[in-house]
Each structure stands twice: as C-alpha cells, then as structure tokens.
C-alpha cells in the first residue's frame, strides 16, 4: 500500500464543489500530473491545471478513413487485375463496384481508428486496476479528486468534500 499512501483523496457530491477544489489546486500551481479527477459523468469545463484536454479523434478518423479506402480500392483493383478474366467487353475494374467497396473500406478504417484513438488517449486497455478508497462513491455519482501528497496541496482545498482520506 506504499503507492496508495502517496495520494490524498477527496470525494465531492457536486461538480461545483469538485470544480472549486480543482480551482484551489490550480491556484496553488499544482501540476496536472499530480492531480487525478475521476467522475462517473463527464464534468465539462474544469479550471486549467496547466495542460489542455485534447483529442485527435477527428484527425485519426480522417487518416484511418483514407488508409481504409486506399486499402479497399487496392484490394478491388489489384485482385481483379491479378488474373483478368474475359468479361464479354465489360470492364476488368469497373468503377461503381470499386467505389462501393472503397466506401466500406473508408468507414471501416475510420471506425477502427476512432476506437483505437479513444483507447490510446484514455490510457485504456492497460487494465491497471489501481483501486481507490472511494470507488463505491464514484460509482454512485461522486467526484473523486486525488492529489499526490508530495505535491503539497494547499490547506483547505478539500474543505467541501464529503469525505477525505490521506
């Protein structure tokens, strides 16, 4: 439990209280990496802790779509041309069917890259189940703010908390 002891946890019942605590931490110039905010619903706007929230979902969706579409088009055209069969005058790589398959490839590539982006950006799939003392309250809708103790949070930052734990 050595790692556990280095965190101070506080659980808040409303997003306003949690926001308030985060604001106090931000004013005390606590670094973002020393604070962890957890909630069971999206909190929306939070006071800045020196780092921006950002997601590359739109970009990766676009890139994934391009890659998927290119792959699908190559699959259609190259596989048809690998052994061109006589078609009675019809095209070997007709464009409309190629467009249909390419469209599905675009969608497939975009979907997969969106999911991969969410998983990577959120640090998911690591399954590091580091449980906290307030997981149950978190599940019931509480908001847990944790600060690394060595970051020396200002006194009273968690004064509105429902419960705290060293």
């Amino acid at each position: 439990m050595a790692g556990e002891a280095t965190w101070l946890h506080a659980v808040f019942s409303s997003s306003a209280d949690a926001r308030d605590a985060v604001r106090k931490l931000a004013e005390a110039k606590i670094a973002a990496k020393d604070v962890e905010i957890r909630s069971s619903v999206p909190l929306g706007e939070l006071p800045p802790l020196g780092s921006e929230l950002r997601t590359r979902v739109p970009l990766t969706a676009l890139c994934g779509g391009l890659v998927g579409g290119t792959a699908a088009f190559m699959l259609v055209s190259l596989s048809s041309m690998a052994y061109p069969l006589p078609t009675g005058g019809m095209a070997i790589v007709p464009m409309p069917p190629a467009a249909i398959v390419t469209f599905e490839g675009v969608a497939m590539g975009a979907v997969l890259s969106v999911v991969a982006t969410v998983l990577i950006e959120g640090g998911l799939l690591r399954l590091r189940g580091r449980p906290g003392p307030f997981d149950r309250q978190l599940a019931d809708g509480g908001i847990v703010v944790s600060v690394r103790s060595r970051a020396v949070p200002p006194a009273g930052w968690a004064s509105n908390a429902v419960a705290t734990e060293l």
Binding site: L85, P86, T87, G88, M90
Partner: protein
C-alpha cells in the same frame, strides 16, 4: 479467335426429346424422380419448351429446345461472388463446380432459366454407375450446373487435331444433342469462322436470338419462320 456457337432450326424440330436424353447420358445429369420433379427440381440442361400458335382449330405446336445460351455478355457471370462461373477464351460460359458455394445468384439473374441447382447430389444405383461418362465430373450436392456445350468433346477434338497438326474442321465437333437429333435441327461450330455452317446459318434471314433485346448476346441462334 474462336467463339463456339449453336444454331437450332425450330422449323425442323419435332420435339422428340432425343437431345434431352442424349444430354443426360453424355453429361451424367441425374434423374431426380417424380416427386422432386413435381417440386420444380427436374434437371435438364437441354429442355424442350412448347408453345402454341394460332387459334383452334388452326393450331400449331412449336417446339423450342432451350439450353444455356452462352451469352457473350452473360448476366450470370458478374453476380457470382467467387468466380465459379466465368467466360472462357473460346466464348463458353464455364462453370467451375469446385469453386461454387451455392449462392444461386447466377440462376436468379439468368433470364433463360437454364441454370440447374444440384439439390441432393445424384444417385446411380448398381449397375447404372457403369454408364457414367468418365470425361464429365459428377457434381456434388450444393453446386450450380448447366449446359457446357459438351466441353469435353471440344477438348477431345482439339487434342486430336493438335496431335495431327491440323486445325479443327468445321462440323468435326458435335455436341451430344446435335449428334442425336434425328431431324438434324442442331448445328454446332465456330461463330467467328465466317465459312462455318453455324456462322452461315447465323446470317440467315430466319435467325433470331432468344430475348435478344436484353443485350445478352447469346451464342445460340434460333432459326424460325420457314415452313
């Protein structure tokens, strides 16, 4: 280039059905029995359709042998997802039985209804298995099959001609149906060779193609209109 084709003179056809029987014997086509035939599963790669002309009492029955038309722009070919049916370089619409997975899409897109699905696989009880033609595959259940223009006979003649170092002669290849037609209504040959009999018949005034307006460009030519 070669394009195998067939001319069928419906003015000569008597509807005797010899071609149907010959086709069954040549191509190992199963006979499905009464009950299955009633269920719409009779298999005749070559079948004789009847239609009536005129009003009673002045009625005339006409016969029309229908088989795979080996269309140059075959509707069945592009819809097969696994290339089990394709156009071979000599203009045959070929079936690769081992490739067929049985989607039956080709049959739905055939306006001539000449594709037959093998619903149960054939049975040739002793000693009938001895009459099977060794040159023709016996198809398993679950595949599509249809007229091949007796491709085994084409191959046979081509091989013989090659060994004798000569071209295939016109009339040398006879499909089972053409061979057995007592009225000699069926002529088989190369449509691309302008001197062949079938090409001459194709140019005749009486020549027409079945559902020609669909643009499938069949290789079977029907001759009709004389007496």
């Amino acid at each position: 280039m070669t394009r195998w084709g067939m001319a069928i003179d419906t003015d000569r056809c008597t509807g005797c059905g010899a071609c149907v029987v010959a086709c069954h014997a040549e191509n190992n086509i199963q006979t499905v029995g009464e009950e299955e035939a009633r269920n719409g599963r009779a298999m005749h790669w070559m079948r004789i359709e009847r239609h009536y002309e005129g009003v009673f009492p002045d009625v005339r029955i006409r016969f029309m042998p229908v088989l795979c038309q080996h269309c140059a722009a075959a509707p069945c070919e592009p819809v097969c997802p696994v290339y089990a049916t394709y156009r071979n370089p000599e203009g045959l619409n070929a079936m690769v039985y081992s490739r067929c997975i049985g989607t039956r899409y080709c049959a739905n897109n055939c306006p001539y209804s000449v594709r037959f699905f093998n619903w149960h696989g054939g049975e040739w009880p002793e000693p009938l298995q001895l009459q099977l033609n060794p040159d023709v595959a016996v198809r398993p259940a679950g595949v599509m099959e249809k007229c091949t223009f007796c491709v085994q006979r084409i191959q046979d003649v081509k091989g013989r001609a090659r060994s004798e170092d000569r071209p295939v002669l016109d009339g040398e290849i006879r499909t089972a149906c053409a061979q057995s037609c007592p009225a000699q209504a069926i002529v088989f040959g190369d449509l691309e060779d302008p001197t062949s009999r079938v090409a001459q018949l194709a140019r005749s005034d009486r020549a027409e193609r079945l559902l020609g307006d669909l643009g499938t460009n069949p290789s079977v030519i029907y001759l009709k209109g004389g007496e």
